[in-house]
């Protein structure tokens, strides 16, 4: 199929304007009735979840900061312990004459 044949198909389809008058009839009335029904229905609980986002974000930040602080403290004490052990090991090695 070449471009001209395709364009011919489009021209044929363009020539046809769909008749929407039947669907348009009384449309405003149906639409307003739907808007009223939507308004009267209570919003589902999950519609409000996005409003809790700042609270969730704050909780995540607090947990994050606390975890980092605890890890920092742990790693400091661990480093101290390792350094101490290492020092002791070095001394024992030196005194017993064991090679590393």
């Amino acid at each position: 199929m070449n471009d001209e044949e395709l364009n011919q198909l489009f021209r044929s389809a363009r020539a046809h304007q769909p008749d929407t008058s039947r669907a348009e009839y009384g449309f405003e009335t149906r639409l307003l009735a739907r808007l009223r029904t939507d308004r009267e229905q209570p919003a589902p609980w999950y519609a409000f979840t996005w409003k809790l986002m700042p609270a969730f974000a704050a909780v995540v930040v607090v947990i994050g900061v606390r975890t980092v602080m605890e890890l920092g403290a742990d790693s400091n004490s661990l480093q101290t312990a390792i350094a101490g052990d290492h020092e002791e090991n070095t001394l024992v090695t030196y005194l017993t004459g064991d090679s590393l």
Partner: protein, 182 residues
């Protein structure tokens, strides 16, 4: 003449709607529904579907009315909502559309032939395209909109519209050729 002068413009109707005047919104709908129905009719398969799509469009317009800043006419703003809603609708119903039967539709293209058959054949082939392919071809080829207008309505860049249109034509040609060989 005086009746024409007394008629509130769209901005006034929008303001009234925002203060809770439903009748003002009904008047806005009355003024612009023809254009919205014309856009949606290219994608709907029957009147009930057309009614559903148009209701979705105007419900969205009602809900977003606060964000209308009046930089473009209300008609353009609601047309953008209409095109995006049709796109969402096409994506949601694509699977149903792919199974459209060719029964009763004359196979093969006839440049001088029956307009109705050509239209049905094109409708059948376009139902097999992806949502964005169908949307871009409908706006450019059937509604005869410019690339710029199509870009504004879809929110895609102009170069993106051109690329999508080129690919959509290729895909449509393939579908029609495959059908012709059968």
């Amino acid at each position: 003449m005086s009746a024409y002068l007394d008629e509130p413009n769209d901005e006034r109707l929008i303001q009234s709607t925002l203060t809770g005047d439903e009748e003002a919104f009904a008047e806005l709908v009355r003024r612009h529904k023809r254009k919205v129905f014309r856009i949606a009719a290219r994608f709907a398969r029957h009147d009930a579907e057309l009614n559903d799509i148009c209701q979705e469009i105007f419900v969205k317009a009602y809900q977003k009315l606060k964000s209308f800043r009046g930089e473009a006419p209300f008609e353009h703003w609601v047309s953008r909502i209409a095109v995006r809603s049709c796109y969402d609708f096409l994506r949601a119903t694509r699977r149903n559309r792919e199974t459209v039967s060719l029964d009763g539709i004359e196979i093969g293209t006839q440049p001088d032939g029956n307009i109705e058959h050509a239209r049905e054949l094109l409708g059948w082939a376009m139902a097999k395209l992806s949502a964005d392919e169908r949307l871009v071809l409908t706006l450019l080829e059937l509604d005869e909109r410019s690339v710029r207008e199509t870009a504004e309505l879809t929110g895609w860049s102009e170069s993106n519209v051109k690329v999508r249109a080129f690919r959509a034509r290729q895909a449509l040609r393939k579908i029609l050729e495959a059908n012709h060989e059968r």
